[in-house]
Subunit: 522 residues, 2 copies
């Protein structure tokens, strides 16, 4: 398989030259890493023995065979009946025998290209590649100036501008914040149209019934300026399906899986298995449930279209057993993220995990929960990192300052994933000889030749000494993050778009709006 983005620039172009690649220029006003997709050179950390992986696999087969799922879609039940599943006549219950499950394993691709309308923004999904999404689906937006408010289109669009401007955000993963001021029947048309015109990166459509997914697929096709047959060969849209844990798939989700699989587009199945609430209180049990639900989605997808791209989603975390509140970035979350990666690799599927936290403020808690999440996800071998930048409050808030903070964290992770060069020049024996005992390397020729790009240069970290920091009013990183997103918005410009594409898109959206958009009775 051809792989995109074979690190053409390496570490060069770090400061002030960001993002000149890729056709669409982005802001030069903020120092950031250039656009590129990182690869993870580290061997994934394993938390489960091979026997334990097989035990979880076996347990999920038992769950699928004995308990099954309630599948609230006539079409899905009919497809699964034809495939040999045990479908109850009087209820929604579908049971999957292990032969059926085993028969679909290995059909979906281990790695594939997810195409953006700008080919330079196309992504490798799977293998050792990492792609980072922005926060998605938050009902509220927040920033330091105006606090927290219900999502609206202005905030939505501002976040979309940041997605385009921040090189480390490789794709959007849904509406950053839900624009509640757009009617649900046409929200997908307006928002997907915004994604196409305001960014040139890959985008996502919600599995809220088949009309929205069909519209999303058509918008992806129009955006890329390709015909239907090409789209059917080239995955260009993704959808996240969160099964209703425990063990339910509703009709809009099934519609999404079926439509996306038919058109060879990407389904990311992610059960919402919070241990202690929607899943067993034990991690092994929660993982067995997660695995069963993901496999059920895989069976549906691969029965509809063997070989359709499918991503194994892990989202298992725990609740606070004192209050029932969801918790994220916990030790349990980290271990579940490692285990999820092992299960995904067992099935040779790309792996989705997330950068999540439960904090209400962009404070130390938000930072430690996020970095712990990243630790679990990255060392677990994540390929698609959802909610990479901006997520707060267990998903109830998209924060502008957190988006910048997370972009900095993701850039640090990306730098952490760059190998250490060990060659004669890097070993610096000449410089060490030249400097000698008691000297210093500040002025050494070896240093002077390399100092500009030697180290990651953070967007936010304040490394001034205490006195200088106090004189400046003892700012915390939030204040700097606030300035960064405002600068990015001020210097944003839309990526170029073929006028013919723009016209076709506008026509499609106008027509579909005239038709009333999509049903809202789900």
């Amino acid at each position: 398989m051809r792989e995109l983005n074979e690190i053409p620039g390496g570490r060069r172009g770090r400061r002030g030259r960001a993002g000149r690649r890729g056709g669409a220029a982005v802001s030069d006003a903020v120092s950031q890493l250039p656009w590129r997709q990182p690869r993870n050179p580290y061997r994934p950390t394993t938390v489960l023995s091979e026997d334990a992986v097989e035990a979880i696999h076996g347990a999920s087969l038992c769950i699928l065979e004995e308990t099954g799922l309630d599948i609230l879609s006539d079409e899905a039940r009919s497809i699964l009946t034809d495939a040999g599943a045990d479908v109850s006549s009087g209820s929604a219950r579908v049971r999957f025998d292990r032969g059926l499950v085993e028969s679909v394993l290995g059909k979906a691709p281990e790695q594939f290209t997810l195409h953006a309308r700008n080919p330079e923004r196309s992504l490798n999904i799977g293998g050792t590649w990492l792609a980072c999404c922005a926060v998605a689906s938050a009902p509220n937006a927040a920033d330091l100036d105006n606090g927290r408010r219900p999502g609206n289109r202005t905030d939505f669009r501002n976040f979309v501008k940041l997605i385009q401007s921040l090189n480390i955000i490789h794709l959007s993963g849904g509406y950053t914040v839900e624009p509640l001021d757009i009617h649900p029947s046409v929200r997908h048309l307006e928002c997907l149209s915004d994604f196409v015109t305001m960014t040139d990166k890959v985008f996502h459509a919600y599995s809220l019934g088949r009309e929205r997914i069909r519209d999303g697929i058509e918008i992806a096709r129009i955006a890329r300026g390709i015909d239907e047959a090409t789209l059917d060969r080239e995955p260009s849209l993704l959808t996240i399906v969160n099964s209703n844990s425990p063990l339910m798939l509703d009709d809009p989700m099934c519609g999404g899986i079926i439509e996306m699989a038919r058109r060879n587009q990407v389904v990311v199945l992610t059960p919402f298995t919070l241990a202690g609430a929607m899943a067993p209180v034990t991690l092994a049990g929660a993982l067995a449930l997660q695995n069963a639900e993901t496999l059920a989605g895989l069976v549906l997808s691969q029965t509809v279209s063997p070989g359709a791209p499918f991503v194994y989603g892990g989202f298992t975390s725990n609740v606070d057993m004192k209050s029932g509140a969801p918790a994220f970035g916990t030790p349990e979350y980290m271990k579940a993220a490692l285990a999820g990666g092992q299960l995904a690799r067992r099935y040779r599927l790309p792996y989705r995990s997330s950068n999540v936290c439960a904090a209400n403020a962009v404070d130390a808690q938000a930072a430690y929960e996020s970095v712990f999440s990243l630790w679990g996800a990255v060392m677990g071998g994540v390929n698609l990192l959802k909610h990479g930048a901006g997520w707060m409050e267990g998903g109830l808030q998209a924060s502008f300052e957190k988006m910048v903070l997370d972009a900095d964290l993701l850039q640090m992770v990306s730098s952490f994933l760059e190998p250490i060069a060990v060659d004669e020049a890097a070993l610096a024996l000449d410089a060490i000889r030249e400097v000698g005992p008691g000297g210093h390397f500040f002025g050494a020729a070896h240093t002077m030749a390399r100092y500009e790009d030697a180290f990651y240069s953070p967007m936010l970290s304040d490394w001034r000494n205490y006195e200088a920091w106090c004189e400046d009013g003892s700012p915390d990183v939030r204040a700097k993050a606030n300035q960064v997103w405002k600068t990015l918005l001020r210097t944003y410009h839309a990526p170029p778009l073929d006028p013919a594409v723009r016209e076709e898109l506008a026509g499609f959206v106008a027509r579909r709006k005239e038709e009333g958009g999509a049903p809202t009775d789900f």
Copy 2:
């Protein structure tokens, strides 16, 4: 080798029953994990190929052979002359041929027991064991109420009480904050006496000349109530030696290495190799320098006493090339922490790394830099985690709130290191069958039997919903940390101490003070 603390309690005893083991009761007022030393079940992450490890090893042999170190100690030079090193007659320069270096490899133990005066607090150093130290050597103390001030004995003692009270802090690693109001000639006597009387955990003595180290060794012997021969068999004290990078070892440091090795006590050699300043700007060069200096210390230690316990210290980080300010918890720090672990294991030595940050405030930056440091250290296979709790400002500040925050982070790491149970009960198939599609697990028997101890219960994280959090005045984690350390101080009580030991210790300290303490002309 006998290993201590074989996880007798596992996850039980989490809430309200903390610390009842180990003889010395600690505060029950704050919910924390019980005393125990974690083991790291994860395969260490490798950032260097085996060839790259050998290239760095080879480069450090070249440095030792061609450039050598300035060793500012007549006794050390004399010892090294006898061992076959190339010692200049007219200067401090000592060159080590590779045969000499290779001849000492493998003599120091891969793992050993570090004895505390309370046997229940003795530690395994090496292998897969992790021991966490408190912050050490900060010139300033800080808290939310009184801000930042130069270190004094009251703050020093309050930190020592927290070391005793926080189960996840396994030992002290030096003076948490420098008590500047105690004269340097007797500071070590007063502080080490405080460590013995106010804690029952392992402590550290500074290599500031041989008098202080001899006093420290004697205090360690008195504290344990053992004779000299037993002490010489049982490591009971540690010292950190930070070589003056590049390539210098001063007289007080050499005295420390020699005295400690002679008495079979623990030397942790940690070069202060900040890439771009005291070390090459390239990570490979900084690591080669770190490795050369550590090996020089190892040669001295093992020549004095083959088999004396020695810990490989890695502290390589980078400076901000714009300002020269030291930076910590950076991507470069993380990679150097992984590489340091690989080098330590190449020599079969226990590995020391640190939990560090450069932040001025206990904000998001402090948290992300600390967790990134922990990520590098823990996945690098750290055995001795220095500055585990309380370090701020690149070491210039010990913070009371940060100590609590870090204790919470370390407990999360400790929980992350506990394996996932995968057995029939944990897989929860009966519970999943019982709950079925669309149900919930809150009330399931499987949940009820386990919910109390199922998940890590953090000291600080605020998981309330946004509305409840706002009603409570939108506190950030600092405010809670402030309450926790005050509660711990209020409920602190000193661990029991044999009156005979107390008397002998008081007598020794009084005599040494009468004698004028230790020289201060270093």
